[in-house]
């Protein structure tokens, strides 16, 4: 056992050595990266999004984002598949009287009721303004999911309708792919920005970017909510 530990420590040291040695060679933060330079100088003009990060994430490298949305979708679906229980034991248990989950305190319930719509509004604000201000669909979605988490904590006996969750997930995913396919139809490139770019700094600008971010915001928000639901063991 001991030799095993020593060997693994040695391997880790070699790994870390190679890692540090190589990373120390890279001059990070210097303006030598021509692709990044291009994004900074041409980004606003070519995509119409004032937030350069958004212009890279959703326009130049939008395909990666589609992939990442898919990864999150797989994680939620996979978790649902692994934790799936056919008997729906939990649902009956929660209705019976010897249920051990306590009712949350009055303060928590009232506070949650008050905060929930505000959290949703804040999340929606973040993803709707993804092309103008820092943040975007993923961040806004996570904020929305945190609102649902609060509701789950305050009202442990209620749960959200899974069917509508999965419908929203599918629809928003389809909108993302659909916009990509429309781009292919209208301008010959998958995921190209085929809508008018508008005036920078206004809400209705940057073509397809805000639409995709709204879809991503819904998708991420509802996916994380369904992950929370699965992990709390609410069954189906």
């Amino acid at each position: 056992m001991r030799t095993r530990k020593i060997i693994s420590i040695i391997i880790l040291l070699i790994l870390a050595g190679g890692f540090i040695l190589t990373f120390s060679q890279i001059p990070f933060g210097k303006d030598k990266i021509n692709v990044a330079h291009y994004y900074i100088s041409k980004g606003i003009e070519e995509t119409g999004a004032v937030n350069i990060v958004t212009s890279v994430v959703l326009n130049y490298r939008g395909f990666d984002t589609l992939g990442e949305v898919t990864v999150l979708f797989i994680a939620a679906i996979g978790l649902g598949a692994v934790l799936f229980t056919e008997k729906r034991v939990q649902k009956h248990a929660s209705k019976s009287k010897d249920d051990k989950t306590k009712k949350a305190s009055l303060i928590l319930r009232t506070g949650s009721n008050l905060l929930f719509p505000l959290i949703l509004l804040f999340g929606a604000y973040i993803f709707v303004h993804g092309h103008l201000t820092p943040g975007g669909g993923f961040q806004g979605g996570a904020v929305i999911a945190s609102g649902f988490l609060l509701m789950y904590l305050a009202f442990p006996k209620q749960s959200i309708n899974k069917k509508s969750l999965s419908v929203v997930e599918s629809l928003s995913g389809l909108i993302f792919v659909g916009i990509g396919l429309f781009g292919l139809i209208f301008s010959g490139y998958f995921l190209s920005n085929f809508l008018p770019k508008g005036i920078p700094n206004t809400l209705f600008s940057a073509g397809i970017i805000p639409i995709i971010y709204i879809a991503v915001g819904f998708k991420v928000g509802f996916e994380l909510t369904s992950v929370i639901d699965d992990l709390l063991g609410r069954g189906k």
Partner: protein, 491 residues
């Protein structure tokens, strides 16, 4: 012209829409993967003649190549994409009646997304995008390995998850290092600048990338997860994991070593690793008494052979390696599908319980025999041609070390023949117990098995159907200047 981005976009759209079809009727969902992969197969077949003339580079979003993500659909990409959609199509037919355990809707979504990941890996021309598709493939396979939710499957999935995540993070570190050195993520762009960086640090980067892809490809000593994962997954998923998923790891290694790094100096080491993997895989397979574990270990051995041939690095060697990828994918998918249904009928995974099935399930057993004979390398099956080309390629190098290597590889083939002959003999010539109620497989099971068996024979008898594409693919890997030229123009 059909746009190759449809090969990824359409199945993705179908996968997202499965829950919506589920609202209409629960019966539709299992046919969606069949439709999606059939369309994919047709599109990729239509693209082949065009790509043999001139490879297609598609930019996503409409910007010029180094600034956006692009797909590079060369001969190698379309060869593997066709193979993936074809086998995926057949396996999805099999799954219609094989997958009965709930939640079937989630199974079909995950299966289709696994296919999207595999197709994306072989078509993309951007190294970070490659990583994203790799994650799609890996994460959906972790969930599918644990699909039966039994102890064995959950443990295997956990092992796979831990080792696979380590592999993915190694790839991510490698990608980050490359981006740090060159400031670009486009594979052709990196390849054209590779000489400008310090070779020592490039070597460390390459080591990270090869280790990462090597875990998915199950190269020794990174193969610990494979026997568990491939044997405890549902058989349709085992067929995909063994037939397709590990090949994407091999593709990753080949793309890094040949196209991006041009690392000729480590090829001998790669060949040696391949040989080691081959020997260890076959020796472990010989000792198994669980049919699915045996097939899983045999996959490790076959991957070793593929990697070995890849390390020969002549055009014939790479050609033989790609041929072996095709013949192994067909044969191993067939074996897992056939064995999966035999297991379903007899209710046990042990080899002894398959005794005497040759009379009860004649068609399935016959197909199993064809698959195993092709893996051993007997004529007139596809495996014969591919193994013969590997031997021929190794002889042609005229280095004594390769002669020694090929001698060892032949010994491994004899071991392989040993255990497959034993199974086939048991199938036909041993008396089984309690076989009275067992009947032949049903239609949805037999169709894919029969098609795979026919393909193995057709390719074995007429290898010229695919040799043109294989030769062009080998050329794509060996002539990196050509690849760079397609994407960046010039040269």
């Amino acid at each position: 012209m059909v746009n190759p981005s449809l090969l990824i976009g359409l199945p993705l759209a179908f996968a997202f829409s499965i829950p919506l079809f589920g609202l209409i009727s629960k019966k539709i969902e299992k046919y969606i993967p069949i439709i999606a992969l059939f369309i994919n197969m047709v599109i990729s077949f239509m693209l082949i003649p065009q790509i043999l003339k001139k490879p297609i580079v598609v930019s996503i979003g409409g910007w010029s190549p180094p600034f956006c993500i692009n797909l590079v659909v060369g001969p190698l990409g379309i060869l593997l994409a066709t193979l993936i959609s074809g086998i995926g199509f057949l396996v999805s037919i099999y799954a219609v009646s094989y997958i009965k355990e709930e939640p079937t809707e989630k199974y079909h979504i995950l299966f289709l997304l696994l296919m999207v990941g595999a197709i994306g890996i072989v078509l993309t021309g951007d190294i970070f995008n490659l990583f994203v598709f790799f994650e799609i493939l890996c994460i959906s396979s972790y969930a599918l390995v644990a699909y039966y939710k039994d102890k064995e499957g959950t443990e295997a999935a956990m092992k796979y998850l831990i080792q696979g995540s380590v592999g993915s993070s190694f790839i991510l570190i490698g990608v980050a290092l490359l981006y740090g050195f060159f400031g670009t993520l486009n594979m052709a762009d990196i390849a054209s600048r590779i000489t400008s960086a310090n070779p020592t640090y490039l070597f460390i980067t390459l080591a990270f990338l090869i280790t990462g892809f090597g875990i998915e490809a199950a190269i020794f000593p990174l193969n610990a997860w494979l026997p568990d994962a491939h044997s405890s997954a549902p058989s349709s998923i085992s067929a995909i994991l063994s037939g397709i998923a590990i090949k994407t790891g091999v593709y990753g290694v080949a793309r890094m070593v040949y196209t991006i790094f041009n690392a000729n100096s480590i090829l001998l080491f790669i060949a040696f690793l391949g040989l080691l993997t081959l020997l260890i895989g076959e020796m472990c397979a010989f000792r198994q008494d669980d049919i699915k574990r045996l097939l899983a270990y045999s996959s490790i051995g076959q991957i070793g052979l593929i990697i070995f041939a890849l390390g020969i690095a002549t055009s014939l060697g790479v050609f033989a390696s790609l041929f072996q990828i095709v013949s192994h994918a067909l044969a191993k998918a067939l074996l897992f599908l056939a064995a999966g249904y035999m297991i379903y009928r007899v209710g046990s995974k042990s080899i002894a319980s398959l005794n005497g099935l040759g009379k009860k399930m004649p068609l399935t057993s016959f197909a199993f025999t064809i698959g195993s004979f092709s893996l051993i390398g007997l004529p007139p099956f596809a495996g014969f041609v591919s193994k013969l080309s590997i031997v021929y390629a190794a002889m042609q190098v005229k280095k004594p070390v390769f002669l020694a290597f090929i001698a060892i590889a032949l010994i491994a083939t004899i071991i392989e023949a040993g255990y497959f002959f034993k199974i086939v003999q048991n199938l036909y010539f041993k008396e089984g117990k309690n076989l009275d109620k067992i009947t032949e497989s049903s239609g949805y099971i037999l169709i894919p098995i029969a098609i795979l068996a026919i393909l193995i024979i057709v390719i074995g008898v007429h290898p010229q159907f695919i040799t043109g594409l294989l030769k062009a693919s080998a050329r794509e890997l060996l002539e990196r200047a050509g690849y760079i030229g397609w994407v960046l123009g010039g040269t």
